[in-house]
Symmetry: C2
Subunit: 223 residues, 2 copies
DNA sequence: GTAAGAATATGAGATATCTCTTATTATGAG
DNA sequence: CTCATAATAAGAGATATCTCATATTCTTAC
């Protein structure tokens, strides 16, 4: 992890202005943090001292259960907050946040800004929208996970994450995200290959029958 | 459904003041709606015209999936909002909201209040807290549902809903809530009875070994 | 380069959960 | 009171998913 200083910091802030998110000047105590792939931005169970706003990169929210299972609750992308739960609540079980790629965020010290942020309409309105989407997405994921087998949820996930027709997510990550065992994920991926929905090329999977995947995926969505 | 008028309305508003939730007078266009048990407060897929605030009663949020399965996403209790998603987002798939008991809520016409509400710090701050809890709860439910079998989740649910040691929820409701089949729920309830965790008395279940249930339930919580 | 750890792969057997079917027992509307 | 519907109950067989064990590649740090 690196904290930008001096000219580097000044330049980054200048090129990534976030003044529009607040109705008061935010830069005085603001820091710029850069995390490398696999760095922990927040460690599970450890209350963070900052409210983060992601400018560049991607991260994952993890929780570890008492039976040892790990859930990847969600991904965090650019223009999203990290640590907002702790800003709002004094008592909160802090989840672990891990950078998936190099991730640069603004870090606002909670001690300095908490009071001001909670009185800032502009900030609150945006945060409200962000949280409502988060709640909606979690509700969707929850009900889908109970109502549909992996086949449907994986088809959806493949279509969402494939890059130019090629799916190449890490199996372990996907297991944690979709909440199934490694073994079962491979079973279903193999089925997709046998049915020629996917073609396995080295360690990647190319989408071969887009429509077949699409019809599996579309039944999970509520529109 | 009944809309309070005249003296009845005046009196109800007087006895259940919610002025503290807003920084501007809210009563002019506010209505008071009373729903009976099983009434639909909002129908699935139908955008509501009001932001509701529950004063008395209890309701359920349902979503119907394309494969016919129904999920009971969550319960709504007193002092909670209904319709806040539609207030915030122009595009949103509206879930169905059904009263579990007689439910009385304040109904704020969105057309009149939307703009003002989205500029009201007091309102936004409370809504932010409400939504953050909602998101957190959904995330917890989601990851628990994937990480633990029904046995654990049901034990937790029984302890949470039992009234003076007696569990008497409707099986159908519980199935939708915990996302399992009716058949499977009965299997596990029978197991609990065979193991003497519960005693079946008529159609109710009395908790007989509190500690056994508790040790099943406690492994799902993150503290 | 090599050794250790990560990631991929696959078999075999167990179990959690589902679907479909068929009864029996409440409960509410007329 | 009575019929229709909701709720409870349970068997039997299917399937979605898990656990454990074992191999085979890749990566990566030294």
């Amino acid at each position: 992890m690196e904290i930008y200083k001096g000219e580097k910091k000044r330049k980054f802030i200048e090129e990534n202005a976030i003044g529009h998110l607040f109705s008061f000047p935010i830069e005085e105590y603001m820091e710029v943090h850069e995390y490398r792939r696999d760095d922990w931005i927040i460690q599970e169970g450890m209350r963070p001292n900052y409210l983060f706003y992601v400018i560049e990169g991607k991260a994952k929210i993890y929780i570890t259960h008492q039976n040892g299972k790990v859930s990847l609750i969600n991904f965090i992308n650019e223009s999203e907050y990290i640590g907002e739960m702790e800003l709002l609540h004094d008592v909160y079980y802090t989840k672990g946040i891990q950078a998936t790629t190099k991730t640069i965020c603004f870090a606002l010290p909670i001690t300095h800004y908490r009071k001001k942020l909670l009185e800032d309409t502009k900030f609150l309105r945006e945060l409200t929208k962000f949280l409502s989407l988060k709640a909606t997405n979690m509700a969707a994921k929850y009900s889908q996970s109970l109502a549909f087998p992996l086949e449907n949820r994986l088809a959806d996930f493949i279509l969402q994450t494939a890059d130019r027709g090629v799916y190449k997510e890490k199996h372990v990550t996907v297991c944690d995200y979709l909440g199934v065992s490694y073994r079962h994920l491979l079973y279903i991926l193999n089925q997709f290959c046998e049915k020629r929905y996917l073609l396995k090329v080295g360690r990647n999977y190319e989408i071969y029958q887009y429509d077949a995947l699409h019809s599996l995926a579309k039944v999970i969505e509520n529109k």
